[in-house]
């Protein structure tokens, strides 16, 4: 009984670690679709490609960090 309980605890810890890792990887993903939207002077609406969207997102994050520090 004691051994089964010990294995259950180990299994739970492993599942928890896996879930935490999954969340970490999900959070560190790049800019998601729809996070950056542009309207050009021509009136056209453009969604930048993932690399460009990531560039925007990286700078925007830093700007928002400064804002957060001073809010």
């Amino acid at each position: 009984m004691k051994r089964i309980f010990g294995r259950l605890v180990l299994l739970g810890a492993a599942a928890g670690a896996f879930y935490a890792l999954l969340n970490y990887l999900r959070d560190s993903e790049g800019a998601k679709k729809g996070d950056v939207q542009m309207v050009l002077d021509t009136g056209a609406t453009v969604e930048p490609d993932p690399a460009e969207a990531q560039e925007f997102a990286d700078i925007a994050r830093k700007v928002l960090e400064i804002d957060g520090e001073n809010r």
Binding site: M38, V39, D41, T42, V46, F56, A60, K62, V63, L64
Partner: protein, 137 residues
Amino acid sequence: MAEGGAAGATGAGELEGVLENLRALSGEVVTAAVLLKDGELEASTLPPGVDRERYAAMLAGLAGTGRRIARENGGSSFSQVRIKGEGGHVLLVGLEGGGTLVATTGPDARVGLVLYDMRNVRKEIEKVTGSGEGAQG
């Protein structure tokens, strides 16, 4: 906190007033700033103690990226850009003459409404910076 620049001390003071009005009009705006074409921070509502040069460099990076993407897509510049981040939104509205009006909001802001207010104050800003209709440059 006005920065001063192409619009001069009085113009920068006026701009600061316009930006404060924008914040009063749109309560969800955290910080508002006007960036000139050359990346100079003309005016902002940043509190004292913030590294303005660094902040201006980041805003200039956003505006530059926006203009580059606009050119790649057949335009000459952007009319507006909306960037959603973890801590909120960064909004850019293009000004006549290549300047940019920037505002940041919290994550739950009604972005459409804020952009509407930004577009409404755009003409006033262009008038002060001398980049509006009838002005040279």
